[in-house]
Amino acid sequence: MAVYKRPHSLLDVSMHFCPGCTHGIVHRLVCEVIDEMGIEGDTVGICPVGCSVTSYDYFGVDMIEAAHGRAPAVATGVKRSRPDKFVFTYQGDGDLAAIGTAETVHAATRGENITIIFINNTIYGMTGGQMAPTTLPGQVTQTTPFGRDPLTAGYPVRVCELLSTLTGTAYAERVAADSPAHIAAAKKAIRKGFEVQQNKQGFSIIEVLSTCPTNWGMTPVQAMERLRTEMIPYYPLGVYKDITAEK
């Protein structure tokens, strides 16, 4: 009988994440994949600035804290000097798609053989709920108090669609952390990303639609509902690029 237990590579500590936040789920999925692939001793992770800034306390692999937005560049430095190691970054939407856009796009452009786990929850969590590049039109945040108006605040960026246009991107998939079925699919996608890296096929990114009940001003249940009814229509789930399926 299989017993559901903590993955070995997920450290046995309390997490600081808010109730109902899906970071914990995604951390667990990453660690399950690391355990199942048997790569805990050969993996280096890069934490971002944002809610997962202290993820080095949770992931039991060697971890490096990056400056805001710079995780793909730091990952590049690690991977180029240690090409036999698995290197992943774990980044939020502000980190990856605002301040770190150049680092993200160019890591993909180079076909950098790293895996990015991208948490899209349409808001800056750590700083208390400001507009993110992925904030939906009309969404109220601290810095869009009347709802995001694209005329003045621009439009939300669809990262997987953007990166899938780049030749260097080997794998890009958007998943969600809202239901058992979606979570199972998310884990499969994360594993796929690591396998693409294992096979030295290039840049992989798994975008995980996530919730932020605290800064959305919702209960965890309402937040899951918003993810389904508002986020998925704007950010459709699916595989946007998969060079392993081509030919």
Binding site: E40, G41, D42, T43, V44, I46, V53, T54, Y56, F59, G60, V61, D62, M63, I64, E65, A66, A67, R70, A73, V74, A75, T76, G77, V78, K79, R80, S81, R82, K85, F86, A102, E103, V105, H106, T109, R110
Partner: protein, 348 residues
């Protein structure tokens, strides 16, 4: 060889495994040289999308325990400041080369010494310093690059080679010494723990103020050791000198010629050339202040080193300044004229 190329070759010989660069005049020869050289010796050359990315790639490579370098010129170094601060905050060794040009802003592309403050006082946010070396010849571009890697590793600090467009572009003979490179097996590096040790974390985040304070205090204890062990200066004709002319890097070459000219006229002038700018070789200045009457600082700037000379001499002697800035190089004749004026007006 060109100074920039000599530096690059010395870095390779000193075990630099990764070089990350971005084009900017007048340092681009370093990137061009590395692009050819690195693939031939199993090293990594990568042209980054920005200075910011390049220094963060250095951060990643240094965190994984290899010798890594980036190079740029003044405006690009401003962009690297963020990464330098993180590297210092994580106590990682690496080498950053600044082939200075005129500033502020986009400035110009001619040689300058506009970044003394940046290198020695304000390399980024936070309480930290980095090692700063000031080569004065193509040979020293090579020797100090090599030394910077060793010292950076020894003290787990970022090290900067503070050069300028004149030294980077000029050609002189250079010889490369044999260099013993250490194995890259640093126990703190992030290379995967192989399930044999607890996970390593490279981090500069301390959310508890007391912990951050403790880490800063610990780092400054290290700085005290560095200050004791590492302060390099060349002294030339200083023993009986009334006037100490001083300058670093390319400016020191001009200052030396002017000192020779002054001696030929019977003026007792000498030269102190700091080779490390951080730590500043205060000892050489303090000693000279016992006997010399006046100091003349010569720079390709508006006088950024003057305050350090005053501090090193406890303001016991006047410190005069002569500099050209914006890419204008002072001539030997101009400096000699300053020495003559000081001899006439201040040595009576």
């Amino acid at each position: 060889m060109k100074g920039n190329e000599a530096l690059a070759e010395a870095a390779v010989r000193a075990g630099c495994k990764c070089y990350f660069g971005y084009p900017i005049t007048p340092q681009t020869e370093i990137s061009a040289y590395m692009a050819k050289r690195m693939p031939r010796c199993g090293g990594v050359f990568l042209q980054a999308e920005s200075e910011i990315a390049a220094v963060n790639m250095v951060y990643g490579a240094a965190a994984s325990g290899v010798r890594a370098m980036t190079s740029s010129s003044s405006p690009g170094i401003s962009l690297k400041s963020e990464g330098i601060s993180y590297i210092a905050g994580c106590d990682l060794p690496c080498v950053i080369v600044n082939v200075q040009r005129g500033g502020p802003g986009l400035g110009g592309i001619q040689p300058s010494q506009s970044d003394y403050y940046l290198a020695t006082k304000a390399a980024g946010h936070g309480d930290f310093f980095m090692l700063v070396y000031a080569p004065s010849s193509v040979q020293e571009m090579a020797d100090l690059a090599s030394r910077a890697f060793d010292d950076a590793d020894k003290y787990r600090m970022p090290a900067m080679i503070l050069s300028d467009g004149l030294l980077g572009q000029m050609m002189e003979p250079v010889s490369f010494k044999d260099h013993e490179n250490p194995p890259d097996n640093k126990e703190w590096a992030c290379v995967g723990h192989k399930n044999k040790r607890p996970h390593n974390v490279i981090n500069s985040l301390y959310l508890k103020p007391e912990e951050l304070e403790a880490s800063n205090i610990e780092r400054f204890k290290k700085y005290d050791i560095v200050k004791k062990e590492l302060h390099l200066a060349e002294e030339y004709l200083t023993e009986d000198a009334d006037i100490i002319v001083t300058g670093y890097g390319a400016a020191a070459r001009i200052a030396r010629s002017a000192v020779n000219g002054a001696r030929a006229e019977g003026i007792k002038a000498g030269l102190i050339r700091p080779i490390t700018l951080w730590p500043f070789p205060e000892q050489a200045y303090a000693k000279a202040a016992d006997t010399a009457k006046v100091f003349l600082d010569v720079e390709f700037s508006m006088g950024q080193m003057v305050d350090d000379i005053r501090l090193a001499t406890s303001c016991r002697r006047p410190v005069r300044f002569f500099g050209r800035t914006g890419g204008v190089i002072p001539t030997t004749a101009e400096v000699l004229e300053q020495i003559r004026r000081i001899a006439k007006e201040e040595l009576k």
